[in-house]
């Protein structure tokens, strides 16, 4: 398992960077926010990303993808993180498609994955029910009824819920709240009767929805995987999501750091460049070191996803290392970035604040640093 990008991955990274720099600067996100865009993402930009094959990056060739691995998807996420691109890449590709790929039957994969690659299908993962991510704290119920199921419950923090065609809903077919057993995953049509979706305007100018399911009837074919037995595969899906988000955070924190470094080299105070103050230098050097560690944690976690020798327990550990570390350092770097910019960093006109806002949402998504440190300790038996 190498921690250095392969030549192909490096080429992909360079081209993704060039594409993002040219087509998706932070001003795109700002525009979506200021215009209160109905979709919350730039559809033209997304079409270009589809043409570049980004939606099929980690999807097997058998289902219309390009089988470039999570390493490939990771560098795309990293580069899109640099300019805070808001797109269906996370909700649909990273989370939704992975759920279908990990849990679905061959028929389900054959039906839906090509639609993700082509952009016809937008997905959203509905799991959290409380303000804190606790993957087994599922009260949403799915009760067998005839051939199908009836779903009831509420979901929160459903990323891109308002634009999804289909929702990947985690529900309980058995067991008590917090039980690992009894979890099932359903693919629910967003337009189905009883589904109500309320878009939330988030601090990072992205979108997540509150979802309520009121006697929603689905067929047996809506079930992804075996009934009541989703825990293991679902955990892998979440770990894929955590690693992908960590990759995105890596891009954002590198960019925020570089912007700040540039500022330290330009801004004069008291007759000298502020970057010559040792107090700031040491803080910058410490950030640099932490970012290097983050880079390694992300590269290793992505490589592990593509490594057939790594089992679920390995992946879990890599995912929690990456998500815990990145969440912590993203907070540090974005706070320091604003502080080192001084007053100008506090203005909405300047981009750096966007990085701080995104860092906090990404840090909380799929488990914050506290959650993943706790999980890491449990995984390691202490």
């Amino acid at each position: 398992m190498s921690l250095v990008l392969s030549e192909d991955q490096q080429l992909l990274k360079d081209s993704a960077k060039a594409f993002v720099d040219q087509n998706a600067p932070v001003s795109v996100l700002r525009g979506l926010r200021d215009s209160k865009d109905a979709q919350g993402y730039d559809q033209n930009l997304w079409r270009q990303m589809l043409e570049l094959g980004w939606a099929g990056m980690a999807i097997p060739e058998a289902y219309g993808g390009f089988e470039f691995g999570y390493g490939g998807l990771g560098v795309v996420l990293e580069e899109s993180g640099r300019t805070l691109v808001s797109s269906p890449l996370i909700a649909t590709v990273l989370l939704g498609a992975s759920a279908i790929n990990e849990l679905g039957s061959d028929a389900q994969k054959s039906e839906f994955l090509p639609q993700v690659v082509s952009g016809e299908l937008l997905l959203a993962l509905a799991i959290d029910e409380k303000p804190h991510h606790r993957p087994c704290r599922i009260e949403t119920s799915a009760v067998k009824s005839g051939e199908g199921y009836v779903l009831n419950g509420c979901k929160t923090f459903v990323l891109d819920g308002h634009i999804a065609n289909k929702l990947v809903v985690v529900a309980r077919t058995a067991g008590a709240i917090d039980d690992r057993a009894g979890l099932s995953v359903f693919l629910v049509d967003a337009a189905a009767e009883g589904v109500s979706i309320n878009r939330s305007w988030m601090v990072d100018s992205r979108n997540s929805a509150m979802l309520s399911l009121n006697n929603v009837k689905v067929g047996a074919d809506a079930l992804l995987g075996a009934e009541g037995d989703a825990y293991t595969s679902l955990t892998r899906v979440l770990d894929i999501g955590r690693i992908g988000i960590a990759a995105e955070m890596l891009g954002s924190m590198q960019q925020a750091f570089e912007i700040t470094l540039d500022y330290l080299k330009q801004r004069e105070q008291f007759g000298v460049l502020i970057g010559s103050f040792q107090g700031l230098q040491h803080r910058a050097a410490e950030m640099y070191s932490e970012i290097e560690l983050c880079k390694s944690a992300v590269r290793a976690a992505l490589a592990a996803l593509d490594d057939a020798d790594k089992n679920d327990a390995d992946i879990a550990e890599f995912a929690s290392i990456a998500k815990a570390k990145l969440s912590e350092v993203a907070t540090l770097v974005s706070n320091e970035a604003v502080q080192m910019h001084g007053g100008i960093g506090m203005t909405d006109e300047y981009d750096i604040g966007f990085y701080m806002k995104r860092a906090r949402v990404a840090a909380a998504f799929l488990g914050d640093a506290l959650f993943h440190r706790e999980r890491y300790a449990s995984l390691n038996g202490f």
Binding site: K130, Q269, F270, D348
Partner: protein, 412 residues
């Protein structure tokens, strides 16, 4: 004994006067919308606010200790304390919020000419003119003295060109007290003057600043050949830096109060869940006996202990300065620590609320949740405004600890 008897008389008179003159609604806790800022076009959401201001201003009690000669209350320190106690006794609202009172007035009384005081002080007392402060400039930051706004004498006027930033309520103020460069050929601190002029002066424009937390009272202010009467230069030509420093002392003391909120578990009489980080943490996790996330619990305990120790330090500092004991160079320390505590408080609130602290607007989030998010963002400026943490730490290192200044080796 005579003095005490006099004070007792004064207390009785004051109590009677307040009883008779303080309108009923002015004895209820202040609400943001009803704060009175005065000015040429004042807003009185509550008509009793107007009455209350007029009555207080007539007695000069908007500025109790200022000289009666200029419209102030002319009270002694002891009398003004009695007045404050009696107002507090009936929960009387302050009749007027004003940078003229809190910032400009004191230095004007100290350094202004008789003519300047006669012209400006009575209007401050009566809330007739609303003031704003023209200090920072886009390029100056922590290095305030590097300011570039130029004032050039032309007949009886100074002609002013340049711009200011972080001017609170500049778009609503009538006059500005402003630092300008009147000599560019001397060391930077020696070429600055302090001047007053009307914001209606042709060539003055303002533009509000949006912060990362949303709208703000801050503005950018531009001067394009704006003319100010030379007679309104305060404290003498090129003597502005001394006056500026006096003013900054007031501002810093004001800001260090931030950190106290955390230890008091209370912000101005409201009782929201958000007032107590630990309650918020439990509420948003559905915990009853203790915070179920042990890492967060430990961090909150650490925060609360630091807040308690900080509150005790503020108290000790006050006691010590009363006794004239110990160095009172603690203001930089209190400012810096207080701001960092406030920032920690909001970081912990954010962790406590989880995704409910990540909303911006619209449905799905309660107003106090949105407020936490916005205030978290706003709190990041605590360690920037009124002197950055870095500047405060420099001040502690040099003035309190006596460590040598490398910058002085660099600067010629």
């Amino acid at each position: 004994m005579q003095a005490i008897a006099h004070l007792e008389d004064f207390r009785q008179e004051t109590r009677a006067w307040l009883e008779a003159n303080c309108p009923a609604s002015m004895r209820t806790p202040m609400v943001d919308a009803e704060v009175v800022w005065g000015g040429r076009n004042p807003t009185f959401v509550n008509p009793e606010s107007k009455l209350w201001l007029e009555r207080m201003a007539e007695k000069g009690w908007t500025t109790p200790t200022w000289p009666a000669e200029y419209g102030g209350g002319g009270l002694s320190k002891d009398e003004s304390m009695v007045l404050a106690q009696e107002m507090s006794r009936i929960n009387a609202r302050p009749p007027l919020n004003s940078f003229g009172i809190s910032m400009l007035g004191p230095v004007l009384l100290e350094s202004g000419t008789h003519e300047q005081k006669s012209e400006h002080i009575p209007k401050i007392v009566r809330g007739e003119i609303r003031w704003c402060q023209g200090y920072s400039e886009p390029g100056s930051g922590s290095d305030l003295a590097s300011l570039n706004t130029k004032a050039v004498l032309d007949g009886d006027d100074y002609v002013i060109n340049g711009s200011k930033v972080w001017t609170s309520y500049a778009d609503k103020a009538d006059w500005i007290f402003c630092l300008v460069r009147t000599d560019s050929d001397v060391p930077k601190h020696a070429g600055i003057s302090f001047i007053l002029f009307d914001m209606d002066t042709p060539g003055v424009t303002t533009k509000p600043i949006q912060l990362i937390s949303g709208m703000s009272p801050f503005c950018e202010t531009f001067f394009d050949d704006a003319r100010a009467k030379a007679a309104n230069l305060v404290g003498g030509l090129n003597n502005g830096w001394a006056i500026a420093k006096r003013l900054l002392q007031h501002e810093r003391t004001m800001i260090s109060g931030f950190g106290l909120a955390g230890s008091q578990g209370d912000r101005g009489g409201t009782t929201s869940t958000m007032d107590s980080v630990e309650r918020a943490a439990m509420h948003y996790r559905g915990d009853t006996d203790k915070i179920s996330d042990p890492g967060l619990r430990d961090e909150i305990a650490k925060f609360k202990i630091d807040s308690a120790a900080f509150a005790l330090t503020s108290q000790r500092s006050t006691e010590e300065s009363k006794q004239g004991q110990g160095p009172n160079a603690t203001s930089s320390m209190l400012k810096n620590y207080g701001c960092e505590l406030n920032k920690r408080r909001y970081e912990l609130l954010l962790s406590s609320l989880g995704s409910q602290a990540l909303g911006w607007e619209g449905e799905g989030f309660a107003s106090d949740e949105i407020a936490v998010t916005r205030e978290w963002l706003r709190s990041k400026a605590n360690s920037i405004e009124g002197g950055t943490s870095e500047v405060q730490l420099n001040v502690i290192a040099k003035r309190v600890l006596g460590l040598p200044d490398m910058l002085s080796l660099v600067q010629k």
